[in-house]
Amino acid sequence: MSFSLSETSFDPRTLILLSLCFAILVISFSSLQFLFCLFAFSVCLAALFKVPFVSTMKKMLLIDGFMVLALLSLPFTFASGSFILFLGFPFYWDGLWLAIAILLKANSIFLCFTALMGRMGLAEFAHALAHLNVPSSFVQILLFMVRYIDVLKLELQRMLRAMKCRGFRYSTSWHCWKSIGHLIGMLFVRSIERAEQILIAMKCRGFTGTFPLLHHFHYSMKDTALVSTFIAFLIVFLSIGFLLDGSFLKGGI
């Protein structure tokens, strides 16, 4: 019988806690050689959990594209350490290393989260949070969001459709901006009203402020195996980081 990590069901609580610990570990390192190793680790993790390549790359590019715009200015504004002149502007090496470190951190955490929690449904995630004793109001907000975000989307579409039927078109006029303002405002009003209706309906069925949780998760040997393998491999990758001479990455500058 073949064993596949991507098809094994682990306790969602284990996956959430592992991801969280990894994220804390990653942000606590600042030297590039360790960050490279942690990034390599998360790439291996993603490969082991068979993360879909194309869609994950698209999401990563989206995040990176956003960050690169902000990070591009970093080497020019760091203003300490050695620099070269680039088109007449000072280009600080330390700023460049910091930008690379930020990119590595973000991508490592993103890959790890996708690998461990990518297959988890939002509802399952919320239930797991509840079992981890996250305050129940946060969990309830998350659960309601999962349930009602589509309802609100449909409401918005219906209103937009009715606006178009009365000749509405997007333009850069005061009338258009005002109308969009009304649309968003009314969406808020409707949401609040709907929320009140839902609360009433829930009270009618005996709701007193706590959600009965149907799912109960079971911590099993599989989870222990996952955690211990995770830690073991993390130590291996970090040891590689120790063995690497930090200066080689910076090309002896």
Binding site: R158, M163, C165, R166, G167, F168, H175, H182
Partner: protein, 218 residues
């Protein structure tokens, strides 16, 4: 021969991955036509209106509106300003804080000045017996009032055709009678979707049944 307001010619339409809703559907609305449309739940009555307004586009067949063939969003923009579509749920239609703002939304979209829009708004509200409603909050109106304000908001655009989607749903007797009287007095072509036979026989001259993706004259 008079030009038809709407001509739908052998329309086929299906939502993705569902069985076809319309197959070879034909429909015509002439000036002064008073048409009723009945049909079971999910027969596609509302979708028929959406096709006429260009909110849905057919996979095959042609929609002619006011003599022009309409194939995309751009073609339908001028059509919408000549057709008054009363939604099944008035809440979808009323999105501005006050009645006045909501009723003048359409006229402003037609390019009228604020003064003209304000005039036509109070005139329309007057005609529907809603004078004094200008500053009322749309959200706090009763169901019957919402329906009448929604009707006012489309009449303010001076449409040639009215498309009414189950206008009498959830109305009490008084609001029902008021709406019927107003609709009777309007000298505009109407297409009315309803389950209410009495209401239809009162207001329309012919009734189509929408069944199995086609319209059959009753």
């Amino acid at each position: 021969m008079v030009d038809a307001y709407f001509t739908l010619r052998s329309i086929s339409f299906r939502r993705s991955k569902q069985s076809p809703l319309f197959q070879g559907l034909n429909f015509e609305v002439l000036p002064n036509d008073q048409i009723g449309v009945i049909g079971g739940n999910g027969a596609g009555k509302t979708s028929l209106f959406h096709l006429m307004m260009g909110l849905l586009l057919p996979q095959a067949g042609d929609v002619f509106a006011f003599g022009q063939v309409c194939r995309n969003e751009k073609d339908f923009v001028p059509v919408r300003s000549q057709v008054g579509y009363l939604f099944q749920n008035s809440d979808d239609q009323l999105f501005c804080p006050t009645v006045e703002e909501d009723v003048s939304f359409g006229p402003l979209n037609l390019g009228m000045s604020h003064k003209e829009a304000r005039e036509i708004t109070s005139k329309t509200l007057n005609e529907l017996g809603l004078s004094g409603f200008e500053k009322r909050i749309t959200h706090h109106l009763s169901g019957g009032e919402k329906k009448l304000v929604a009707l006012a908001s489309i009449l303010a655009m001076n449409p040639k055709v009215l498309l009414l989607d189950e206008p009498t749903n959830n109305l009490d007797d008084e609001a029902y009678k008021r709406l019927t009287d107003i609709l009777k007095s309007l000298n505009i072509s109407k297409v009315i979707i309803s389950h209410d036979r009495e209401f239809l026989s009162d207001l329309t001259e012919k009734t189509y049944r929408l069944e199995a993706g086609q319209l059959h004259l009753e």
